[in-house]
């Protein structure tokens, strides 16, 4: 059994489950369990927790609509007597998404970018995403009410608004995507911000102010996951300086930097030849600042779809790769960009992106502060996690893989010099215990009494990819839902959301704001309880 939160590192233990939760062993030795699952010789871990993926909502669905070409030849998800049919490709249909996560031993996943105006859509899709518990982050980094509150120097109002908005959307955490940059994109041709101190017209605020103010407000609310940041300048050579500034802007407040791989590049703007890794410098900062956490956003070679709330990024990518392009600006709140992408191992840039992701896993010393992600489907599918595990646990395999990619990886990153190999215990941390802790989910990512009985049981194998691709058993809320890759029982899973308290007098002002600038009525904006399937409110504080 591996339960890093309780320091259990491969010891033989019993786990007792009652009513979907893990409980203490009964003190009375006469008490017999109703059912016993013999896991002798197997590897037992908490269910996997994906803290950053794109699996539901308008953006994901637009990608499904736009890309029929990748579905016909992909694996067919057949209807069975228990399960719905579906399609794969880089953005699987909702039912397929649930089955595939569960089949891989993941039991919780968070969609990373929901415009609150579309929250109902996300709730509908998540209810149709079976087997896993789920939640979503609410886009706030280009929200006009937030920018106005900063402009007017009203931090208290901003904080109250964050609480109101999370409650109205029934979301989980504030998300900043290219703070300020998306608003500039809406205002100007090819608009964007390129640094933390550029001005966002109309509100006269800067990305730095948005980051600072939102992070402070969210931390004061004691949210379980205060702020999830997709920094400015994603994908641009030389963007590491912006990333470092973003970290510094947080000071010692808690903050999570997501898909940090895409934000760790040296080199000159528009100059591919100077592109290189700056992970050493950035990881050094993370290592010495315990308030910071990251997920990686690992790139894998192959075809996928880039999708983001970062409107200008979609335009940039579709122009450099000459692909179709979807963009949708959401009034008062957010943007969205989608473009097909193929990561090629012969490409210098793509090879370096791949290497930079791996460097992040290997250079952050404390595994509790680095979570596994591919930013599904941006860097690759969540189904690639077993492949990443193999790259981290098996140095020989990694060295072979480095030989297959662009040779510049050896000079422009430190990957080839890194000898670290992850242990099972550490893998358990970066794939479940760590993300659960970063998200503030007290009942996930561990196997102690009180935890949700979400448990994954693997057959040990020297080939770690094989081991993690097909668990022997997956248990969700105490029920065996997967055996050897086959779905045995379909559960709906529950929605995880927050409901922070706030001073309701702010609603008068928000209502006025809505009647002036939104195309829907204020009263029709908050998501009612009717949209919740099974759910759990995660407390603040």
């Amino acid at each position: 059994m591996y339960d890093p939160l309780h320091g259990v590192d491969g010891q033989v233990r019993d786990i007792w489950i009652r009513d979907g939760r893990i409980v203490d062993a009964p003190s009375d030795p006469a008490v017999r369990p109703d059912k016993v699952l013999d896991a002798a010789g197997l590897v037992v871990m908490p269910g996997g927790v994906d803290m950053h993926c794109h699996i539901a909502g308008p953006k994901v669905n637009a990608a499904r609509k736009m890309r029929p070409e990748e579905k016909r030849k992909a694996e067919h998800i057949m209807r069975t007597s228990k399960t719905r049919s579906g399609t794969m490709g880089s953005t699987p249909s909702t039912f397929a998404t649930g089955y595939k996560y569960a089949g891989m031993g993941y039991t919780t996943a968070f969609d990373a970018a929901t415009p609150p105006l579309a929250a109902r859509h996300v709730h509908e899709e998540l209810e149709d995403t079976p087997c896993i518990d789920k939640g979503f982050f609410v886009l706030m980094g280009n929200n006009h009410y937030i920018m106005r509150s900063i402009q007017r120097k009203e931090p208290e109002r901003l904080k109250t608004f964050i609480a109101w908005l999370l409650g109205a959307a029934k979301g989980y955490a504030p998300k900043l995507v290219n703070p300020g940059g998306v608003e500039v994109w809406k205002q100007l041709p090819s608009g964007n911000v390129h640094g933390l101190d550029e001005n966002v017209e109309h509100y006269d605020v800067t990305p730095r102010q948005i980051i600072e103010a939102t992070a402070r407000g969210a931390n004061e609310l004691k949210l379980p996951h205060p702020v999830h940041i997709h920094a400015n300048n994603l994908g641009m050579p030389g963007n590491w300086a912006t990333t470092l500034e973003t970290m510094k802007t947080l000071g010692d407040t808690r903050g999570h930097l997501t898909h940090i791989q895409f934000h760790s590049y040296g080199g000159g703007v528009g100059d591919q030849d100077t592109f290189n890794s700056k992970v050493v410098e950035l990881a050094e900062y993370v290592n010495t600042h315990p308030n910071l956490t990251i997920d990686v956003g690992q790139v894998l070679f192959g075809k996928t779809t880039s999708m983001t709330g970062d409107g200008p990024l979609g335009y940039y990518l579709s122009n450099i790769y000459h692909t179709k392009w979807f963009s949708a600006d959401v009034e008062m709140e957010a943007g969205c960009g989608i473009a097909p992408i193929e990561y090629r191992d012969k490409s210098l840039v793509h090879s370096l992106q791949w290497a930079i992701g791996l460097e992040w896993y290997l250079l952050v010393k404390d595994p509790w502060r680095v979570a596994m992600s591919t930013d599904h489907p941006n860097g690759g599918s969540f189904l690639a996690y077993p492949q990443i595990i193999q790259l981290l646990m098996d140095r020989t395999f990694r060295e072979e893989a480095i030989k297959q990619v662009h040779p510049a990886v050896r000079e422009r990153s430190t990957l080839a010099e890194l000898t670290r190999e992850y242990t099972l215990y550490e893998i358990c941390i970066i794939t479940r215990s760590g993300p659960a802790k970063i998200l503030g989910l007290a009942n996930k990512g561990h196997l102690g009494p009180g935890a949700d009985a979400d448990i994954t049981i693997y057959m040990p194998n020297d080939d770690k990819r094989v081991m993690f691709e097909m668990p022997r058993f997956v248990i969700k809320d105490g029920r065996v839902i997967v055996e050897q890759g086959e779905i045995r029982e379909v559960t709906t899973g529950k929605l995880l959301h927050v409901a922070p308290g706030y001073d309701t007098s702010i609603e008068t002002d928000i209502a006025e704001w809505f009647e002036k600038y939104y195309s829907v009525r204020f009263r029709n904006y908050p998501v009612s309880d009717d949209y919740l399937h099974d759910h759990e409110i995660i407390g603040c504080g």
Partner: protein, 445 residues
């Protein structure tokens, strides 16, 4: 909150007022209607347009039975049993319609399609299907309607007539509203119509391009060429499009000079010669324009929840319409799995039609086939389709009698505040009952 319930207290205590109710008549899905109800009749629909008023005020629950089997009154339970048998005994069952019901009901319908290895198709296949196909090849640069209201300073209506088909589009979203960056409303906007007909919409514009019929493709490519600075022969342009080159050049200059350009297009573009190639050219033009300024494009969808149907079918199966599940997994092929085709080719041998009237508007061969096979119809109203159905359910009207979710033409999900209860069951209830019976009959969970 000055605008909500408290301020509109009715004098007559027998009148119930539902504020901020939603009109599902067209794709605008206006959610600011105040409905007054007396004795299960809507007596007022404040802020609704002409069409919306007709929708609300003419609504009365049909006193037909909730279920008819072969034209004879039957219980809903009997209808459900017969429906489930029809669907499970067929070799090529199809499910069609879906655009005028809640997304909750749509989800159940798609589930039934999966259980019976059927084909699911929506009215998208006969209206904006070509836009959907163009979307797959070009993508789309778009935005929500509030974004147009707040920023759009050049508005082009192409092959659509919102003045008559979406009456509040002008006032709420596209022409009149004072937006964040357009403090003077209409005065801050330039409005252009491009159409073969001089419509009511055209009359409300600053510029009108009455183009040659069936030349939309040439018009769009003329603009695409001008955007790229390619020289064109004035004589050819005039002959192909019916419009002087100089006028196209003037339009392109305005398109490049605006801050936030918007093209709203209708079925006048998608259902004329060129079809999805027209849509693709238009989507590409909007994309091209982003090299110069911000530009977006948006199809103006008709039916109340056709956008929801696209979304639900997509997230469930991966494809937006015309989805066949006979092999146990979804396949997509417009022209092969779309309903007018599966009927006209005599492939479909049973059908379930939800909130749609193909018997009134499909081709002769398709109608003949539908009339010859057993089929189920769900509709609040008596229609040619319900009249010829083997099993016809009279259902409650969404938005008036039932709650649920509707997706506006810009994908914004809006929920419904029903005015009063119907004596008839909802689509959701009937479909859920059929689904459960289908599961029993086919041994599925």
């Amino acid at each position: 909150m000055s605008t909500t319930a408290a301020s509109t207290k009715p004098v007559d205590p027998s009148v119930k007022v539902v504020t901020d109710a939603t009109c599902t008549f067209c794709g605008c899905v206006c959610d600011d209607i105040d409905i007054s109800v007396k004795d299960n009749h809507i007596i007022e629909a404040k802020r609704a347009c002409v069409m919306g008023k007709a929708w609300f005020l003419n609504h009365h629950a049909d006193d037909r039975p909730s279920c008819l089997i072969e034209g004879k009154p039957a219980s809903v339970a009997e209808g459900v049993e017969r429906a489930a048998r029809i669907l499970t005994e067929a070799r090529y069952p199809i499910i069609y319609g879906l655009s005028d019901t809640t997304s909750e009901a749509q989800r159940v319908a798609v589930h039934i399609g999966d259980l019976i290895a059927g084909t699911v198709d929506t009215t998208t296949s006969v209206c904006h299907g070509p836009s959907g196909m163009a979307f797959q090849s070009a993508g789309e640069v778009t935005c929500t309607l509030g974004e147009i209201a707040n920023r759009g300073d050049l508005i082009i209506f192409w092959g659509g007539n919102p003045a008559e088909n979406h009456p509040r589009h002008f006032t709420k979203y596209s022409l009149m509203p004072k937006g964040m960056f357009l403090p003077n409303g209409r005065k801050d906007r330039t409005a252009v119509a491009i159409d073969v007909r001089n419509t009511k919409t055209a009359k409300a514009m600053d510029l009108f391009f009455q183009v040659k019929p069936r030349s939309d493709f040439e018009c769009l490519w003329t603009l695409r060429a001008l955007a790229k600075g390619i020289d064109l022969d004035p004589a050819v342009v005039k002959k192909d499009t019916g419009i002087e080159l100089a006028r196209w050049q003037d339009l392109m200059a305005r398109m490049k000079a605006c801050k936030f350009g918007v093209i709203l297009f209708g079925m006048g573009l998608t259902m004329t010669r060129g079809k999805h190639l027209n849509s693709e050219a238009l989507l590409s033009l909007a994309r091209d324009m982003n090299a110069f300024t911000r530009f977006v494009v948006k199809p103006m969808r008709g039916h109340g929840n056709v956008t929801g149907a696209d979304n639900v079918v997509t997230w469930s199966t991966g494809y937006p319409f015309g989805v066949n599940m006979s092999r146990g997994y979804p396949r997509f092929n417009p022209g092969e799995y779309t309903t007018s085709d599966t009927l006209a080719r005599n492939e479909a041998d049973a059908a379930m039609i939800i909130a749609s009237d193909p018997m009134a508007n499909f081709s002769q061969p398709a109608r003949e086939r539908l009339a010859s096979i057993p089929y189920i119809a769900l509709d609040p109203k008596d229609t040619p389709t319900t009249r010829a159905a083997t099993v016809a359910f009279t259902t409650a009207t969404y938005g008036i009698n039932t709650a649920g979710t509707v997706y506006r033409m810009d994908d914004v999900p809006i929920f419904l505040r029903p005015a009063f209860e119907s004596p008839h069951p909802s689509d959701f209830d009937v479909l859920t009952a059929i689904k459960h019976r289908v599961m029993e009959l086919t041994n599925q969970q």
